[in-house]
């Protein structure tokens, strides 16, 4: 680890912090276009964060210290996740700090904290949201890990950096297992980021909420942090998906020129990904909450299938 | 010197037994009972020391023969006899105050107790197989009177069954003894020596196998009835449940041993005459069957003393199985188990006696919360039960460990049966004892404080053996096991 490495790492983190709301804004804009609405400005998420940071925090009487700590923890977790996922370069100092399994762990930690915070006030919606979030979580986590396992088996490593290097920098090969894994990953990402068809970030109809139900009592800077963390999560998932399935263009070292060169490609990939997300959200309707297990179960099965396909077709060459 | 102790050991119970028939109503009679038992125990202890140091001895010509095997039984008998007499002091006083016993009955109890000890000691030490039979029959007669002490319909019924079943059993044993004599006479000639065990064992190889086989069947069935081997056991639960508790303790702890001792002496002869383990196989078969039957009986019991009577049957089955396997290790284990069973079971009966007195019933569903009434009795019953169920670190486990491992080595087919039975027995007994010991109750304390020392003395010994068998004891037991061949 050296200074330039640290700087590169810092650069990646800062870029994530600032690109993430932009991605959220971009998805919102695409959605609006696709639904023939007047689109909000691209920078709308930034305005909102700014506004929320200015506002006073209104805490419920029953709120405990955990309620106040949770947004920071969730935010911290997402920052960490963004630091680990290779966005611009695979060889950053924090890359070995956590592999894909640990990455899933980070998301889990954030989920537990936000669910606990949701239960803290003691309103019916809070615990409802908490339990639904945990429901989605325990269904999505195995599927996500199966996806990761498939890729990890191809590269013989769980380290994200190594996976990306293997897939991006070696000779091109077609991995049918990745197709299964890719679909499964999409499913999981939708669920994890509270997107249609599992959840609807725009809804405020209580009975259908998951994410919104949990953060109903948050306001001011707390809410801002949570929203920001949500954007970061979307960003991290997108980058992870890109790294696993479309890894081309990520720099191999921590030199700034290489990283800077990787930025445009990343932006391109993200904007395509965001558009596709908007498409998916538009063509699908929100499911009943108890259809979510089926949805995620399908994702899980697909991922396992991918794994088996990998074992069956690709190991004995 | 040793012989003086021997004479003393036989004389004290006989004389005090006869004396107590006369003076048994005096206030100091219970103390006399204890003192006599103490004297018997002390003389037997000194005798034991002498025998172990100097080897086997004859007494009264060749009529009595004491070696390290029977001296073991003798010591256990006199020791449990002593503790039982200590225990029965306050117990019988309480019975008297409850109006369940009158003074003449107490007199009968004390004298018969001493005479019973006498007959057992004679049975254990005699060298003559005929006298052994006579002493066994006499022991039955004395205990019949003890079992029917309460004169209630139930106790009379129990005593009647005891008398008839054991009488018939012993008649078979007599037939076996006659056949044994017949076989021996062909070798030893028509001298009076043909029933002396020491002579028989010298010529055991020449005894006619056909006769010996028939003889052993009769002897095994005969004495086996008294041991409580299934399906000859039917008298045993009745007699244990309906007699006074001290009597149950000595029946279970001592009389069964003596009967088993008789079988062992016969087995040594049969083994010498018949090759191929005929006697051992029969004993193993009976032992296993007894064990299984008793184990399944246990779960249907309602009366606490009856349940522990079945537990005695179960253990006798296991011990018979061990002796049936034969060899130094199994014999050692059998002897150890027998000793441990005597100590533990009598301790349990002491505790049960106090418990039933306190609650006024023998029905287990009405006995609750002993730990509340008297923690010592509660713990005694709990620990005793755990010990008898073969929980380490108690000595019964040490013996069961040796039996099981030996069985695994030589008779692996028997192990699943053994273990099933032990498991079922555990579930049954523990499931019934636990609610008796634990929980709430509203019973009142008794006028006379219980004699709890014997219980814990026994349990402490059992615990010690489980963790540490002194080398002296090991040598002694090994020597005795060797006697059995």
């Amino acid at each position: 680890m050296n200074i330039s490495g640290l700087l590169a790492q810092l650069f990646a983190i800062v870029m994530a912090l600032f690109l993430a709301p932009l991605l959220t804004g971009w998805v919102g804009q695409c959605r609006a276009w696709l639904q023939s609405r007047t689109a909000p400005p691209l920078l709308q998420p930034y305005y909102m964060l700014h506004k929320l940071f200015h506002k006073d925090v209104v805490l419920a009487h029953g709120a405990s210290s955990l309620f106040r700590v949770a947004p920071f923890v969730v935010f911290g977790c997402m920052v960490l996740a963004c630091a680990i996922v290779p966005t611009l370069s695979t060889d950053l100092p924090f890359a070995p700090a956590a592999d894909t399994i640990a990455l899933v762990g980070v998301f889990g930690l954030a989920r537990v904290f936000i669910s606990l915070a949701a239960m803290d006030i003691g309103t019916s919606f809070g615990s409802l949201g908490g339990r639904r979030e945990m429901l989605v979580g325990f269904l999505a986590e195995p599927a996500l890990l199966m996806v990761i396992f498939t890729t990890a088996m191809i590269s013989q490593s769980t380290s994200v950096a190594t996976i990306v290097e293997t897939l991006a920098h070696r000779e091109f090969a077609i991995y049918p297992s990745l197709a299964f894994a890719g679909i499964a990953f999409t499913f999981v990402s939708l669920a994890e980021n509270a997107r249609v068809p599992v959840d609807n970030p725009a809804t405020h109809l209580e009975l259908t909420m998951i994410h919104e139900a949990m953060i109903l009592e948050y306001s001011g800077r707390h809410l801002a942090l949570i929203e920001w963390a949500a954007s970061l999560k979307l960003y991290a998932y997108s980058c992870l998906g890109l790294a696993l399935f479309f890894p081309w263009g990520v720099a191999a070292g921590d030199s700034f020129p290489a990283m800077l060169a990787a930025i445009p490609l990343l932006l391109l990939k993200l904007s395509i990904g965001g558009f596709l997300l908007a498409v998916i959200e538009t063509v699908n309707a929100k499911m009943r909450i108890f259809r979510a297990p089926e949805f995620l179960g399908t994702a899980f099965l697909l991922a396992v299938l991918g794994l088996l396909v990998r074992l069956l077709l690709e190991t004995r060459v | 010197m040793d012989m003086d102790f021997f004479v003393l050991m036989l004389a004290i119970p006989l004389i005090s037994g006869l004396l107590l028939t006369v003076v048994g109503e005096r206030a100091w009679a219970p103390n006399l009972n204890i003192i006599a038992s103490l004297g018997t125990f002390l003389s037997s202890a000194l005798l034991t020391v002498g025998i172990i140091a100097n080897g086997p001895r004859f007494a009264f010509g060749e009529l009595f023969f004491i070696d390290s095997l029977n001296v073991l039984f003798v010591t256990v008998t006199t020791f449990v006899g002593l503790t039982t007499s200590i225990f029965s002091g306050p117990y019988m006083k309480n019975e008297q105050e409850h109006g369940r016993l009158t003074v003449p009955r107490l007199r009968l109890y004390k004298s018969m107790f001493q005479l019973f000890m006498f007959t057992m000691l004679v049975a254990l030490t005699t060298n003559n197989m005929g006298v052994l039979w006579v002493a066994m029959e006499a022991a039955t007669l004395t205990t019949v009177l003890l079992v029917s002490l309460y004169r209630t319909p139930a106790s009379l019924e129990a005593a009647w069954k005891y008398f008839i079943l054991c009488g018939v059993g012993l008649a078979q044993a007599l037939f076996g003894t006659i056949l044994l004599y017949f076989a021996a006479e062909r070798v030893l000639g028509e001298t009076g020596n043909a029933l002396l065990w020491t002579h028989l064992i010298d010529v055991k190889g020449q005894l006619e196998p056909t006769i010996m086989a028939l003889s052993f069947i009769f002897l095994l069935l005969g004495y086996g009835t008294k041991v409580g081997l299934a399906p000859l056991h039917n008298w045993l639960p009745d007699a244990h449940a309906e007699g006074p508790t001290p009597v149950s303790a000595v029946l279970s702890g001592l009389l069964l041993n003596v009967a088993l001792y008789a079988i062992l002496r016969c087995k040594a002869l049969a083994d010498g005459a018949i090759h191929g383990g005929f006697a051992g196989n029969l004993m193993m078969g009976f032992g296993l069957f007894t064990l299984v039957v008793a184990a399944f009986f246990l779960s249907r019991q309602k009366d606490v003393k009856r349940m522990f009577a079945y537990s005695s049957i179960e253990h006798m089955g296991l011990i018979t199985f061990a002796f049936g396997m034969g060899g130094p290790v199994a014999n050692f284990a059998g002897l150890l188990h027998m000793t441990m069973h005597s100590l533990t079971k009598s301790a349990i009966f002491f505790a049960v006696g106090h418990a039933t007195q306190k609650t006024g019933t023998q029905l287990m569903e009405h006995i609750r919360g002993l730990m509340r009434i008297n923690p010592l009795i509660g713990w005694a019953l709990m620990l005793g039960t755990l010990a008898i169920l073969g929980m380490p670190p108690f000595g019964v486990f040490a013996a069961e460990f040796m039996i099981l491992t030996h069985a695994m080595k030589h008779h692996p087919w028997a192990t699943p049966i053994l273990l099933t039975a032990l498991g079922v027995a555990f579930a049954a007994i523990f499931g019934k004892v636990q609610p008796m010991v634990f929980g709430e109750t509203e019973a009142k304390p008794l006028p006379h404080a219980p004699a709890i020392t014997p219980v814990f003395l026994h349990l402490a010994l059992v615990l010690m053996i489980g963790l540490y068998i002194p080398p002296y004891l090991t040598r002694w037991f090994n020597e005795a096991a060797r006697m059995l061949g």
Partner: protein, 223 residues
């Protein structure tokens, strides 16, 4: 050991033994108490005679003692005690049996066959003049056993028990010319004491159950 002529005393002994077996069957079939006791006394007497014959023909002196004991105990003392008991206890004369008599007799014949077969290899080993009677002794014991099983009253059951002792004495004399003296004495003492205790018992049982029917004594059970 083939075809040797049996001496007169041997024939006599065999005759007595057969009588004892016959009496055992008679007891098995007897329906009344008093005749049952008389049959028992008769069996004892036959046993006494048989023992005397053995003693005379073999010159075994202690067998005289044994015969004397039999006479005193089995022929005189025990029947007397039983007679008195029956009178004092007002026992009903009828003896009830659990199974009907013809069936019992059939089972009894089966038992005799078993007993003879079991005893055969052993008696062939014997060189006493009485060797043939061992099978009869065993059969007597078994018939007495059968009687104890089938009778429902206390006194016939005890008579069966005592008759079993007769069979055992017959076995002792037939197989080995009697047991050692100390044992014989001990056995006799036990039988006597046992009989006395039983006598006391009968009174207690009658007091408690108002009857000597042992079917009243079926309350101790696990069913």
């Amino acid at each position: 050991m083939s075809g040797a002529a049996i001496s007169f005393s041997g024939q006599l002994i065999n005759l007595f033994a057969s009588v004892i077996l016959l009496l055992a069957f008679a007891m098995l079939a007897q329906r009344r108490v008093m005749p049952l006791i008389n049959l028992f006394a008769l069996q004892g007497a036959t046993l006494f005679l048989s023992t005397v014959v053995v003693a005379v023909s073999t010159g075994q002196h202690h067998l005289y003692w044994s015969a004397g004991l039999t006479l005193v105990l089995k022929v005189i003392a025990l029947p007397l005690i039983l007679h008195r008991l029956v009178r004092r206890l007002y026992v009903k004369w009828e003896v009830e049996s659990l199974i009907n008599i013809p069936t019992i007799m059939l089972v009894g014949i089966g038992l005799v066959i078993i007993a003879f077969n079991v005893a055969l290899p052993i008696s062939q080993l014997s060189d006493t003049i009485t060797r043939g009677t061992l099978g009869i002794a065993l059969a007597t014991v078994m018939l007495a056993f059968l009687m104890m099983i089938t009778r429902t009253k206390a006194i016939p059951q005890v008579v069966g028990f005592l008759s079993m002792e007769n069979g055992l004495f017959l076995a002792a004399t037939s197989a080995t010319y009697g047991m050692p003296m100390v044992v014989e004495l001990g056995i006799a003492l036990d039988v006597l004491v046992g009989a006395i205790i039983l006598g006391v018992f009968f009174f207690q049982i009658r007091d408690q159950f108002d009857s000597l029917d042992i079917r009243h004594m079926e309350r101790l059970k696990d069913l």
